[in-house]
């Protein structure tokens, strides 16, 4: 006879929780067994008893503490998710993976960030999703800034699944007009173009001089599936779009994508990567173990399949590599396995696999530039999904291979992706080489004609036409500078002088002023030379000795020289402050010193104008500029301006050695919790910001070349010293 044993405690718990209905045999056992019935009864009674347990009461002291922190603009980033109730159409599929993302808990952050303005209106779409070919109705409620308008414009940036990361190669479009109705709201509609899966939107008046971009956060629409869930492609394009618009929101989106699509390795690979960038090494190290079960599960799932997509193979390789460490070398093996599959026969036909192989072989490719160039040419001809770095790489390999036709061809390809930003950069590099000077000059002149046509499609959604024109004029000035220098190098002095004058009109560039001054002096134009030299002397980077030596060349009195420099100071301030912004940065992100002692940015500022620079030794341009920071710090200190250099790395001996080798004699701070990077909304290095004495952000994402004059322009006094030599 088979003896029926007691159900396991686990089974009894399931019965107590009403997760399962006991079968016939179990019911019969429970009818006979008091012990098992007691276990069930006790568990069920706990729920009632626990509900009656009293405990602490949330009182007035706690309430006051909350309000004190709210008044101090203390920000806490809570671990929320796309919150849906039990009937959510998002579903709870694979909730283990789903809430694992949001439930890290470790991403509870205390940070002090900018307070957003409350002047944004309300934009609604119906339906609230993108579907190719469908009509979307739009309703906008103004918060007051468009009170005198009868018609507004909805502008948008629409993405399809093959669009790349970041927005430099994407244009914006006017989608529809919004007409004011009798009830005061603005209404319009637009048809969704084919293949669009994500859209970012802003509203502006017809003149484009007032924009509601929801405080630069924009409004969004996603393509959804039949359950109303954003599609994977929509979330991917949202992530791509947000990378340089709102990195923190990008983090939220990449977490949502992994939660909603837990079987997609690329979702997890991107999540691990972006969390590491946003949250820092400490956080990345602590959460790495939590991703291992997911990586193992996905490896088991997909390795059993003969055919997998390139995205799966690439995602698995990336994910496994990101979570491997010395204690878990098996994930390095998993990553190698998937890399091999990525390069296997079936993958060779894929453009993505070819790109990945080329990119992975960068170092050895340098030994064979001609062969590598040929592969890039093949790639370019084959695919329209080529990654954004391919154009730049093709250009570099063409130069290494000394293939002049290819150099120009790849420069044109790079410039075509974004004439506004990439054109000046690539042709500016080309014009410095005498081999390509004439063709580069042609291209730069063509760019000037392009700028003159004011292509509104390249205007960012948050920027008004005035702001965009101001940004354009700075870019145009750089194009003129490149042309002027090229003309000078080829001996066309008069044309160079005229062009360089145009380059400095409305901008400030001491190097160009010096070239103009020397040219004018040698051409016998002393009066013109004197003013230009005074501008050089007024520049904050010019030492007293240099200023004196310039004065000695000229036939002007010491008083007149001082007067000219003061006028130049005022002109410098006027030109530089044209581009100034005013953004509150209340709060104090935590930074750490080398020995781990905490410091806040407010403490470091000490009420002074402050330059904050973010740098990384793993970024080549940042490494180069880091070596120039001691000089920058000395110049800034002359004007009582503080330099705060911030790295996202954790302190280490190798980092100490790197800092020492740069002869840095000012303290470096560590943004271990990424609070500073988040407050300044930057994940780039090198990056520069200028805060005024009251802590307002006045220049953002500026450059090493400009930051000194920008910071000095904000100081209240810029007195010109009398020349050391008096009389002749």
């Amino acid at each position: 006879m088979i003896r029926y044993l007691h159900p396991t405690e686990r089974a009894l718990q399931h019965i107590a929780d009403r997760d399962v209905v006991p079968g016939r045999i179990t019911r019969a056992h429970l009818a006979r067994c008091q012990r098992c019935r007691n276990v069930i009864a006790f568990s069920r009674s706990l729920e009632d008893d626990v509900a009656h347990i009293r405990g602490p009461i949330a009182g007035e002291e706690l309430r006051q503490a909350i309000h004190a922190r709210l008044s101090a603009n203390d920000h806490v980033l809570l671990p929320t998710e796309i919150a849906r109730g039990p009937s959510s159409s998002f579903g709870r599929r694979a909730a283990v993976a789903a809430t694992l993302v949001a439930a890290m808990g470790l991403w509870l952050l205390s940070t002090r960030g900018a307070v957003a303005s409350a002047s944004s209106g309300e934009l609604r779409f119906h339906p609230g999703r993108l579907s190719a070919g469908s009509i979307v109705s739009v309703e906008y409620r103004d918060a007051g800034q468009f009170a005198d308008e009868t018609v507004l414009v909805l502008r948008g940036r629409l993405r399809i699944p093959t669009n790349q990361s970041y927005n430099s190669a994407l244009t914006q479009a006017r989608l529809t007009s919004l007409a004011r109705t009798s009830r005061g709201v603005f209404r319009g509609s637009f048809r969704v173009p084919d293949s669009v899966v994500y859209g970012a939107f802003a509203v502006e008046n017809e003149a484009g001089d007032r924009v509601d971009s929801r405080n630069r956060e924009l409004w969004e629409l996603y393509a959804t599936d039949s359950r109303g869930r954003p599609t994977f492609e929509a979330l991917s394009q949202a992530f791509n779009d947000l990378l340089d618009v709102n990195p923190e929101r990008a983090l939220q989106v990449v977490r949502d994508r992994a939660r909603l699509y837990p079987d997609d390795p690329s979702a997890w690979g991107d999540l691990v990567g972006w969390e590491g960038i946003m949250m820092g090494d400490d956080y990345a190290d602590s959460v790495r173990p939590l991703y291992r079960p997911t990586a193992s599960r996905l490896h088991e799932l997909y390795s059993a399949r003969d055919e997998v997509s390139i995205e799966v193979a690439y995602g698995m390789a990336s994910l496994a590599r990101a979570i491997s460490d010395s204690a878990h070398p098996e994930f390095r093996e998993i990553s190698s396995y998937w890399r091999d599959r990525l390069y296997a026969d079936t993958a060779k036909r894929s453009v993505t696999a070819a790109e990945v192989r080329l990119f992975a072989a960068q170092d050895s490719a340098r030994k064979y530039p001609a062969r590598t160039l040929a592969r890039y040419e093949q790639l370019w001809r084959r695919g329209d999904s080529i990654v954004f770095f391919a154009a730049n790489n093709g250009f570099n390999f063409a130069r290494m291979a000394n293939d002049s036709a290819a150099v120009v061809r790849w420069a044109d390809r790079s410039a075509l992706r974004n004439p506004r930003l990439l054109g000046p950069s690539v042709y500016g590099r080309l014009v410095e080489d005498s081999t390509y000077r004439e063709v580069a000059l042609d291209r730069l002149r063509a760019l000037l004609r392009w700028f003159a046509q004011r292509h509104d499609a390249w205007r960012p959604l948050h920027a008004s036409r005035v702001e965009h024109a101001r940004d354009d004029s700075a870019i145009v000035a750089s194009v003129f500078t490149s042309i002027g220098k090229a003309l000078l190098a080829s001996g066309r002095t008069a044309a160079a002088l005229d062009t360089l004058d145009r380059a400095t009109h409305g901008t400030w560039d001491a190097i160009v002023f010096r070239q103009v001054a020397d040219l004018r002096l040698s051409a016998g134009d002393s009066a013109g030379a004197v003013r230009a030299y005074a501008s050089v002397a007024a520049d904050p980077a010019t030492s007293r000795e240099t200023s004196d030596s310039l004065w000695r060349r000229l036939n002007v009195s010491a008083d007149r020289w001082r007067e000219l420099i003061q006028e130049a100071h005022a002109e410098m301030r006027r030109r530089v402050l044209v581009g100034v912004i005013t953004r509150p940065m209340s709060g104090a992100p935590r930074l750490a010193t080398r020995n781990g002692a905490p410091a806040t940015l407010d403490q470091l500022r000490g009420g002074r104008v402050t330059v904050v620079t973010f740098w990384s030794r793993y970024c080549a341009p940042s490494r180069v500029q880091f070596a120039a920071l001691p000089t920058l710090a000395r110049h800034l200190n002359r004007f009582g301006i503080q330099l705060v250099a911030v790295t996202g790395e954790t302190p280490s001996r190798s980092l100490d050695e790197f800092i020492r080798s740069a002869n840095v004699d000012f303290p470096v701070y560590y943004d271990r919790w990424k609070e500073a990077a988040r407050m300044f909304e930057t994940m780039r290095t090198p990056d520069y910001f200028v805060l005024d004495g009251s802590g307002l952000l006045r220049f953002a994402n500026t450059s090493l070349e400009k930051v000194l004059t920008q910071a000095v322009a904000l100081t209240p006094h810029m007195t010109a010293a009398a020349p050391a030599s008096v009389g002749r």
């Binding site: 405690e9 686990r10 009894l12 718990q13 399931h14 012990r35 007691n38 276990v39 006790f42 568990s43 706990l46 729920e47 008893d49 626990v50 009656h52 347990i53 009293r54 405990g55 602490p56 009461i57 949330a58 706690l62 309430r63 503490a65 909350i66 309000h67 922190r69 709210l70 203390d74 920000h75 806490v76 980033l77 809570l78 671990p79 929320t80 998710e81 796309i82 919150a83 849906r84 109730g85 959510s88 709870r92 909730a95 283990v96 993976a97 789903a98 809430t99 694992l100 949001a102 439930a103 808990g105 470790l106 991403w107 509870l108 205390s110 409350a118 939220q252 173990p289 939590l290 079960p293």
Partner: protein, 181 residues
């Protein structure tokens, strides 16, 4: 903040209060605090075992609320949403703190001692004596009402581990409360 706003706000629904918080109303935060503050504090206290830490958790939840409600969509229970956030914040704090605090029984509301109350105090004490790994699962399941799948995700464990920890917790409680092995 004035008290005169509160009586009017007491009648508002959760969704109406959420809308007011989105529009920057500090009185609405007060109203939500009055409605759910104690419940959240007690929930955090059960999880974390320290009054001070539980108050810090609740502070963080309410300070972060104005920003977090931007992500709340009015198609679920606001109370459940708040409790879920509180749980995550408390768990994050527990992961950071290696130190264990004794439960501060002096903070408990005093009550007339009846047999029932004595039993509840015993139960509370028994819960406090559970190992933290078992206590977390017990509190999340029996007080928070989360499923084992959700608990597993929150704690970074397998679903089966969550189930095992729950019945071990209950078995321990049964032993401590003298209700059997």
């Amino acid at each position: 903040m004035t008290m005169t706003a509160l009586p009017r706000l007491r009648e508002k629904t959760d969704d109406e209060l959420v809308l007011l918080v989105r529009n920057g109303s500090p009185e609405a935060i007060d109203a939500i605090y009055d409605r759910y503050g104690t419940q959240l504090l007690r929930f955090a206290y059960r999880l974390i075992g320290s009054i001070d830490d539980a108050e810090d958790v609740v502070q963080d939840v309410f300070v972060g609320l104005p920003r977090a409600v931007a992500r709340y969509e009015e198609c679920g229970s606001f109370e459940a949403w708040l409790r879920r956030i509180t749980a995550r914040v408390a768990l994050a704090r527990m992961r950071r703190d290696t130190r264990r605090s004794r439960w501060n029984v002096h903070e408990l509301e005093t009550q007339r001692l009846t047999e029932d109350v004595a039993q509840r105090v015993d139960l509370e004490d028994a819960i406090s004596r559970l190992p933290s790994s078992l206590r977390s699962v017990f509190v999340l399941r029996k007080i928070g009402g989360y499923s084992h799948v959700e608990i597993a995700a929150m704690l970074g464990i397998r679903r089966g581990t969550s189930e095992v920890r729950l019945y071990r917790a209950i078995r321990l409680l049964r032993t401590m409360l003298g209700s059997g092995p």
